[in-house]
C-alpha cells in the first residue's frame, strides 16, 4: 500500500492505494495520526485507489475518526470503489463516517464544517 498526501488550503488529502490489511494498516494509522497532529483544519481520505480493506483497516479508520473528533478536525471519506462501499455497508460503517462520491465535494464539505465551527456528521 502507498499513501499519497497533499494539502488543499488547510485541508489534508490522503489517498491510500492498494490493500489495507493487518500488514499495512499500522502504516496507514501512522500517516493518519501524523496528519491529524499537524496544523490542518480538515482531513479527507480519498479511497478511490483502495482494492481491499479488512477488519484491521476498519479499526484504523475508527481510531483516526476518534482522534479527529477529539482534536476538532472533520474527517471525511470519498470515492469509495463499489467493492469497498459494499464492505462499509455490510459492516454498518456508512453511518459512522461522512462519505462523498466526489473528492471536491468531500473537501468542500469538510472545510465548511470547520469554518462553521460545527462537528462532522457521524462519530465513533
Amino acid at each position: 500500500m502507498v499513501v499519497h498526501e497533499e494539502r488543499i488550503g488547510a485541508t489534508a488529502l490522503l489517498v491510500p492505494r492498494g490493500r489495507i490489511d493487518s500488514a499495512t494498516a499500522p502504516a496507514l494509522g501512522e500517516r493518519l495520526g501524523g496528519a491529524l497532529a499537524s496544523s490542518i483544519s480538515a482531513l479527507v481520505l480519498d479511497l478511490s485507489g483502495l482494492e481491499y480493506i479488512s477488519s484491521a483497516g476498519f479499526r484504523v479508520l475508527l481510531v483516526a475518526n476518534r482522534q479527529a473528533q477529539s482534536s476538532g478536525v472533520p474527517l471525511h471519506l470519498c470515492c469509495l470503489p463499489d467493492k469497498v462501499h459494499q464492505l462499509f455497508e455490510l459492516a454498518g460503517f456508512l453511518e459512522l463516517f461522512p462519505i462523498h462520491a466526489q473528492m471536491d465535494e468531500a473537501v468542500a464539505a469538510a472545510s465548511a464544517v470547520k469554518a462553521s465551527g460545527g462537528r462532522s456528521a457521524g462519530g465513533a
Binding site: S54, A56, F58, L90, A124
Partner: protein, 573 residues
Amino acid sequence: MSVPAHASWWGPADSPPTALVLLSALQHIVAATTLLTYPLLVAQAAGASPATTASFISLTLLAAGAGTLLQAFRLGPVGSGYLCWPTATVLYLLPSLVAARIGGLPLVLGMTLAAALFEIALAPTMRRLRPLFPPEIAGVIVLLVGITSGAIGVRMIASAPPHSGPEAALSPIAVASFALVVMTALNVWTTGVWRIACVLAGTLAGILVSAHIGGDGGPSWPAFAGASDGPLFALPDVSHLGWSFDATLLIPFAIGGLAAAIKTSGSVVILQSACDPRWVRADMRSVGGGVLADGLSTGLSAAIGGLGLNASSVAAGLAAATGMHSRRVAVAIAMVCVLLGLFPAIGLFLTRMPAELLGATLVFSSVYLIVNGVQIVTSRMLDARRTFVVGLGLLAGLSVELVPAMVEALSPSLRTMFGTPLVFGTLTALGLNLVFRIGATRSGAFVVEPQQRDSEWIEARVNGLGAGWGARRDVIERVGFGIAQAAEVLFDNAEVDGPIDVRASFDEFNVVIRMAWQGPPLELPDRRPSAEEIIASDEGARRLAGFLLGRIADRVSCHERSGRSILTLRFDH
C-alpha cells in the same frame, strides 16, 4: 442486460395500454417478413399454383399465431413464458426448398413434421443438458445471434436495389441511415409510446422521407404500387394437404430441428436476461418449455399445411431493445397473424417492404443482442479452457459468415448444418466445452501458512479456482475476502500459529469453503461490536471480523472437535 429504469419497460405479466400493445405487435410483424417470404419461396419451388401458394402462406401464418400463444403462456411443460414468437426460418428453408423440388409440398410437410417430432423429443432433455450450456456458451449464442443478424441487416442495406425514377437521388443506404437515426434517437431520448414503437416510427419515417424526396406524393418503391394484388379476403385452401417422407432428407431436417432447438434456447436466454436484472444463469425449465413450444409450433404448421417455424431471435432483440415484453403483445401478434392469414392483400403489402428498411430494423435490434451477449460472457470468470470455448466458438461462427467458400465446399446436408454461423459456432463451443471437461475439477484446496498470510496471495488462489469453475466474478470476490479476513483474524487476534487448511467446492448453485486449524473456534456474533469496543481491544477487532464473515457469506458456522476448529462459509451462486 439491466432493466431500463424508466416507465416504458413492461414485463411479461404487465398490462400496457391497448394502443401500445397494438403498436408493438405491428412493429414485430413488420420486422418479420420472412414469415411471408419463405413460404412463398418454398411454394414456388414446389411449382404450386397461386391459390395454393397463398394458402401455404396463410396456413403458416395461422400456425405462427398459435405458436406465439404457446410460447408466451406456459401451459404445463409447454412454453417459455416470454414474447418469443415463431417465424419462418432459414433453418428449415434450405431443406424445404430441396424437398419441394423433389416431392412437392407433401414432402415438405412430411419432413417438417419429422423435424418437429425430433425437436419435441429434444425438449425434455434440455434441463439435463444444463452442464453443457454454461453461461459463457449462452453468451456466445446471444453474441452470434446479434453479430450475424446485424451483419445480415448491413448486407440488406448495402445490396438493396436503387429506386427507379427521379427519386433515385436518395440511395437505399441514405434511407436506411435516416430510419436507423430515427429508431435510435427515439430509443435513447424518449420514453413511453415513442420508445416502445421506435422501430415502427423509424420504418415509417424511412418510407415517408423517400416518398417526399421522390416528389410523387406516395411511396416511391414500385413494389408498393402492386400492394393490392390478390384477393382481399380468402379462407385458406387445404387441397395441398398431404404428407410424404424421404429417408435421404431425414438428416438435413433433423439437423434443422436440432438447430431450431439451439436457436430457441438462445432467444429464451436473451429474453430471460432482458427481463431480470439479477439474471445469473439460464432457467432451463423455461428453455425446455420454449423448445417444446417451438417444436409444437412447427408440428402444427406441418399438420395444417404450412412451413416449419422457429422462435425469432430478431423478435427477442426487438423486445430487449424496446423493453416491451408483455404477453398481451403476444396475443396481439397472434391476432395479426390470423388477420394476415385471412387477408392476403395485407400480407402482400408487407412482403414488399423495402429491403433497406428491414435491414435497418435488424441492425437496430442486433445492437442490444451484442451487448447482452458480452455481458453474459463477462459475468463469469474465464480460465484458459473457457477462454478457448468462447473465443473459438465465436470465431467458428463468424468464419461461416466471413469465409463462405468454406461452407460452399460442404455437401448439401452438411451445409444445412454448418451454413449458419449460429449453429456452427454453438456446436463448436459445445464440443470444446465437452472436451475441456476432461480433467476439470469442481473443488480445490490450499494451505495458508502463518508466514504466507498475504490477502493478495489468498485472493489470487481463490480467483484461480473461480476461473476454473467459471464462477460468477462477484461471488468469487466475496469468497476471497472471506478467506483472507478469516486467516487475518485467526493469525493476528486468535493466537493460531499453525497452518490453515482451506478446501473449496463448487456446484453452480453454491461455493462452499471449509477452513480448518488447530486452535479455538472463531466467534461469529450476530451484532456488530460498537466502535469503542473495536478500538479498545483485540477482542473487539476479533468480533468485528467474525461479524463481517457472517455478513459476507450467505451462511456461516464454526465448530470445534478435538481441539481442531472448522469454519464453514457458504456462498449462494
